[in-house]
C-alpha cells in the first residue's frame, strides 16, 4: 500500500534548463540562478580559476593566503566594518582556495541580498590586504600549520600526495608549508590578485527565495562592469607519471593513540569517460551502506577501525582515488593487507550485478535529498557548469548511471588501481619498517 501515486523520481523538481536561468556576460562571467520559493534565505556561491596551482614553488600557500585575505579589508571598508555589516544581518561570506579554484559562498536572508552582493563584489574586486591584518592572518595560518603537523590524517594525506604526484603539481599542499608561508609578502597577495582574479571564466550561482531574473540582474549590476586585461589563464597540467611499484611512506607523529592510513593512486578526471564507472565502482568498494566492501572487511568483520572506506576525488584533473582507515598503530600492517586484498578483488573480479544495482539505485534515489537545500543546489549547478556537463545533466543522470555494467567497472578499476603500483601512506606514533 502506498500513500503516493508517483513512485518515480520526480524529474520536474530537479535542476535543469527548465528551471535554471543561465546568462553569460560579455566579460566572461556566467551566472546561474534558480528559485527555491520555500526558502526565506538565499545562497550566492561561485568560483574562479585562482587556486594553488598558480603558487610559485617558494611561496606555496599564496593562493590560499590571498583568498583568506580578501575579507581583511577592502578599499572601501575595514575588516571590522565588513564583518559588522555582515554579522549584523546574520549573514555569512567566506572564500577558500583549492588546487584549481578560488571558491566563495555567502548566505543571507532574502531581504539582505543587496548588502551581501556589495560585500562580495568589494572583496573580490577591491581587496586592500592591509599590512597589520595580513600579519595577524599569517600568525593564524602558521598556527593552523602547526596543528596540521599534529594531525595524523593530514600528515598521511600530505605523504600520500607526495608519493602519487611526485612529478606533478598536485603533490603541493594548498596551505603551503611554514617556511613558504613566511616568505609571502603583502605585495605578493596584491600581485596574485591583480594577475589571477577577474571575471574571465568566473561562475556565480544564486539559489533561494527570489525571482531568478531579478537575481541575475543584481549580480550583473555588481560584476557586469568588471574587467581585468591582466587576468592570465592557469597553466596546463603536465602529464602524470604513473607509479611503477608499491611506494610506501610513514610519518612519525609522536604521542598519538591512532594512526591514519591511505592507500591508492590517481583516478580519472571528472570529464573522463571512465568517471561514472569509476565512481559507481568506488561506491561499491568503500561507500555503499556502511562504507562498502572496505567497511565490511575492516570495521564489521575485523573490528579493526572506526572508519574505513574509499573516495574518488575527480575534479578538473586526475584527483586521488584512495582507500583510508584509522587504526591502532599496531594494526597498520593488518589493515594494509586487508585493504590490498579488497583492491585486488575489485580489480580481478567484476562486482556483482546486485552490488552495482544497489549503488545505481542509491545514486538516483538520493538526488532529491542532496538537492534539497539552497547550498546543495548551488554546488550542484556550479559543478555542472564548471565541468561543462550541460544543464540537462540531472535529466540524463538516471540513464548515465544505469548504463554502467560490471564489466565496465572492472575495466576502469584495472586501468587505475593496479595493486602492484599503489601508494601506501601512514602517519602515527612510532616508526615502521
Amino acid at each position: 500500500m502506498s500513500q503516493r501515486s508517483h513512485k518515480q523520481l520526480p524529474l520536474h523538481s530537479l535542476p535543469s534548463q527548465e528551471n535554471i536561468l543561465r546568462q553569460e556576460f560579455s566579460n566572461g562571467m556566467v551566472v546561474l540562478a534558480r528559485s527555491n520559493p520555500n526558502s526565506g534565505s538565499l545562497i550566492v556561491s561561485g568560483n574562479l580559476l585562482a587556486g594553488g596551482l598558480l603558487d610559485p614553488e617558494d611561496k606555496l600557500g599564496l593562493a590560499d593566503f590571498t583568498a583568506a585575505g580578501l575579507m581583511r579589508g577592502t578599499q572601501r571598508r575595514s575588516f571590522q566594518e565588513i564583518y559588522d555589516t555582515l554579522e549584523s544581518l546574520g549573514a555569512s561570506l567566506g572564500f577558500s582556495a583549492g588546487t584549481h579554484l578560488l571558491s566563495f559562498s555567502g548566505k543571507a536572508l532574502v531581504e539582505d541580498l543587496d548588502t551581501l552582493l556589495t560585500l562580495l563584489a568589494e572583496a573580490l574586486r577591491y581587496p586592500a590586504f592591509p599590512g597589520e591584518q595580513i600579519e595577524r592572518l599569517r600568525a593564524q595560518l602558521l598556527t593552523s600549520l602547526s596543528i596540521r603537523a599534529q594531525s595524523t590524517g593530514e600528515m598521511a594525506s600530505l605523504a600520500f600526495d607526495q608519493l602519487v604526484y611526485r612529478n606533478h603539481p598536485y603533490r603541493r599542499p594548498e596551505e603551503g608549508y611554514p617556511e613558504t608561508v613566511q616568505e609571502i609578502r603583502q605585495e605578493d597577495l596584491a600581485e596574485f590578485h591583480a594577475r589571477h582574479y577577474g571575471p574571465g571564466r568566473m561562475l556565480i550561482a544564486i539559489v533561494g527565495g527570489l525571482d531568478p531574473q531579478l537575481a541575475v540582474e543584481k549580480i550583473g549590476a555588481a560584476f557586469g562592469d568588471w574587467t581585468n586585461p591582466l587576468q592570465s589563464a592557469p597553466p596546463e597540467l603536465p602529464p602524470l607519471t604513473p607509479l611503477t611499484e608499491i611506494s610506501t611512506r610513514h610519518v612519525d607523529v609522536p604521542g598519538k593513540s591512532q594512526a591514519d592510513l591511505i592507500i591508492g593512486t590517481a583516478g580519472p578526471p571528472r570529464l573522463s569517460p571512465d568517471y561514472m564507472a569509476a565512481s559507481l565502482g568506488n561506491h561499491v568498494l568503500g561507500r555503499f551502506g556502511m562504507m562498502g566492501r572496505l567497511g565490511e572487511a575492516l570495521r564489521e568483520k575485523a573490528g579493526l577501525a572506526y572508519y574505513a572506506g574509499s573516495s574518488l576525488n575527480s575534479g578538473l584533473g586526475p584527483g586521488p582515488w584512495e582507500a583510508s582507515a584509522g587504526v591502532d598503530p599496531e594494526n597498520i600492517d593488518r589493515a594494509v593487507e586487508l585493504i590490498l586484498a579488497e583492491i585486488r578483488r575489485f580489480v580481478n573480479e567484476p562486482v556483482s550485478r546486485d552490488e552495482l544495482a544497489d549503488s545505481q539505485a542509491n545514486y538516483i534515489g538520493r538526488l532529491p535529498i542532496s538537492l534539497e537545500s539552497n547550498g546543495g543546489i548551488a554546488s550542484a549547478i556550479l559543478s555542472l557548469e564548471r565541468h561543462q556537463l550541460g544543464l540537462d545533466y540531472y535529466l540524463r543522470f538516471p540513464d548515465l548511471v544505469n548504463a554502467v555494467t560490471p564489466q565496465q567497472v572492472q575495466e576502469v578499476a584495472g586501468r587505475y588501481l593496479n595493486p602492484d603500483r599503489l601508494a601506501i601512506a601512514s602517519a602515527g606514533s612510532g616508526e615502521r619498517g
Binding site: G40, S92, Q140, T143, Q150, S257, Q258, L304, Y306, G365
Partner: protein, 430 residues
C-alpha cells in the same frame, strides 16, 4: 508554518508529525530518553555502545541488511548518543519511508546483541576513542568536564572511559537496551512530504504490539554549587596551547537560559543549536575583538547547549604563538567583567536576535533539521520550547543580560583548563 501534531499511543509512545511538501523527502527520527547521564562508573559509554549494537541486526533484518536497504533507496541515516538522549534517523525519498518506519519499530525490541558482534564492536569503539584522543581538544575537554562535575553523571565523555570499554559485557549491554528502549521512553518525530493521517496510522499499527516497560527512573545526582575556581592542566604533543574555560550554565528549561544565549552571542558569536547547521562568523563579538584582534589568540569560540540539567557555557581559545595562556585569560576576564559592570547596548541585543532569525531560516531549508527539532526539543523540554525560542530571545532585556553575566560568569563558577604542548612537531621519514 505547518502545525505540528502531537499524539501519544496507548503504549506511551509519543509521536510528533509535521507535514511539509516542499520536497519529496521524509525525515524520520526515533529518540530514546537515555544517554551518558544514565551511566554509572563501570558502565560509562554503555549507551553509545548500545547505539552501535542497534546496527548489528535483528532476526528480520540481519546485520548488514539494514544499511544496505536504506542506502539502496537513496536514503541517509545515522545515530547519535549524547548526554541526555540517543537518537536514530533516516531521511528518505518520500515514497520509500515505509522501510525506515519498519526497521525502527523492529529494532526497538528485536535487536540480537550477538556475542561475536559485541566483541567486534568493542574494538571499533576503542578505535573511535583512540581517534578522539588524537585531538588535543578532546583530551582537554574530557578533563575539564570531569573537573566540572564531581557528582553529576555529566562528568564523563559520551564515548566512555577506556577502563569500561575494556570490561563491559554483552549481558550489561542487552539489559541497558531492554530497560530504556521502550515505547513509553521514546519519541518519534517525522517531518516531510506525507499526509498526517496516513503517517499516524502507519506508526500506530507498527508499534501496536510493542509493549511498554517500566518507565526507567532517570539517574540523577545533582551537582552541588561550585565554591571556587578549579584548574586543570593537560600536557601533550604539539606546539600549540589550547584553553578551555567552562562556567556552570542553566538548564534549557530555565528562563535564565535565554539571557545567557544572548550574552553568549555578544561575547563569542551566535551559537547555532541546529544539529547539522553551520554557524556564522564571530569576528565582531567582544571576545574576538579583544583576543584575536588583540593578537593574544588566533581563535575564540563559545557556546551553550540545551540540556536537561545545568551543563556548561564553554569558551575555547587557541593561544597566539607570541602570547601566553595567562594573557588570554586576563583579557577574557576583563571582557567578561565589562558585561557584569554595565548592561549591553540595545543594538547589540537586536543584532543577536536578527542572527538567531537568520540561523532559523537557514535551518528550515532542510526537512532533516525540521524533524530533528521536533524530537530534540522533547528531550529537555517540549516542542513549544523551539516554537517560542525567538520570542523568548526577543524578550531579553539589557538588564537580564547583565544579571546573567553576574550570576553565571563568575570565576568561582568555572573550570579553567589548559593544554600545554610538550615536544616538537612531526618529522617525516625518508
Amino acid at each position: 508554518m505547518q502545525a505540528v501534531v502531537r499524539h501519544t499511543l496507548p503504549n506511551g509512545l509519543l509521536v510528533l508529525l509535521k507535514e511539509d511538501h516542499s520536497a519529496p523527502i521524509i525525515s524520520h527520527w526515533v529518540w530514546y530518553r537515555v544517554g551518558s547521564r544514565d551511566e554509572v562508573p563501570g558502565k560509562t559509554g554503555i549507551s553509545h555502545w548500545v547505539e552501535h549494537m542497534q546496527f548489528k541486526g535483528t532476526r528480520k533484518y540481519p546485520a548488514g541488511v539494514l544499511d544496505k536497504a536504506v542506502s539502496r533507496e537513496g536514503g541517509f541515516w545515522n545515530a547519535f548518543t549524547y548526554l541526555d538522549w540517543t537518537t536514530y534517523f533516516e531521511t528518505m525519498p518520500a515514497h520509500k519511508i515505509e522501510l525506515a518506519l519498519q526497521l525502527e519499530a523492529d529494532r526497538m525490541e528485536n535487536s540480537l546483541f550477538d556475542q561475536n558482534e559485541v566483541e567486534s564492536e568493542r574494538t571499533v569503539i576503542i578505535s573511535e576513542r583512540q581517534g578522539n584522543e588524537n585531538e588535543p581538544m578532546f583530551r582537554l575537554s574530557e578533563e575539564v568536564q570531569a573537573a566540572a562535575f564531581r557528582v553529576h553523571n555529566y562528568h564523563h565523555e559520551v564515548i566512555g572511559d577506556m577502563a569500561d570499554l575494556l570490561t563491559i559485557q554483552r549481558e550489561e549491554l542487552y539489559e541497558h537496551y531492554r530497560s530504556y528502549y521502550r515505547p513509553n521512553n521514546a519519541v518519534i518525530a517525522v517531518a516531510g512530504d506525507f499526509k498526517l493521517e496516513w503517517m499516524l496510522d502507519q506508526i500506530a499499527s507498527l508499534y501496536a504490539a510493542v509493549s511498554p516497560g517500566k518507565t526507567p527512573a532517570r539517574f540523577v545526582r545533582l551537582e552541588p554549587a561550585q565554591q571556587g575556581e578549579r584548574r586543570v592542566v593537560v600536557e601533550g604533543p604539539g606546539e600549540t596551547t589550547f584553553i578551555r574555560i567552562v562556567y556552570k550554565a542553566p538548564a534549557a528549561s530555565d528562563p535564565e537560559f535565554f539571557p545567557l544565549m544572548v550574552l553568549d552571542s555578544l561575547l563569542s558569536g551566535a551559537t547555532n543549536l541546529d544539529f547539522f547547521g553551520q554557524g556564522i562568523s564571530n569576528k565582531t563579538s567582544r571576545l574576538y575583538r579583544a583576543l584575536v584582534e588583540g593578537e593574544l589568540a588566533v581563535s575564540i569560540h563559545g557556546g551553550l547547549q540545551a540540556t536537561i540539567d545545568p551543563f556548561l557555557h564553554t569558551f575555547t581559545a587557541v593561544v597566539h604563538p607570541q602570547s601566553s595562556a595567562d594573557e588570554v585569560v586576563r583579557t577574557l576576564d576583563e571582557v567578561i567583567a565589562r558585561t557584569q559592570d554595565e548592561p549591553p547596548e540595545p543594538e547589540e541585543l537586536k543584532r543577536a536576535v536578527k542572527q538567531a532569525h537568520a540561523l532559523f531560516a537557514y535551518g528550515n531549508e532542510r526537512i532533516t533539521n525540521q524533524a530533528f527539532w521536533l524530537g530534540f526539543s522533547e528531550m529537555f523540554s517540549d516542542y513549544s520550547w523551539h516554537e517560542q525560542y525567538l520570542a523568548r530571545l526577543e524578550a531579553v532585556t539589557p538588564a537580564d543580560v547583565q544579571r546573567a553575566a553576574q550570576v553565571y560568569l563568575r570565576p568561582q563558577n568555572r573550570v579553567l583548563g589548559l593544554y600545554l604542548p610538550k615536544g616538537a612537531g612531526a618529522r617525516a621519514e625518508a
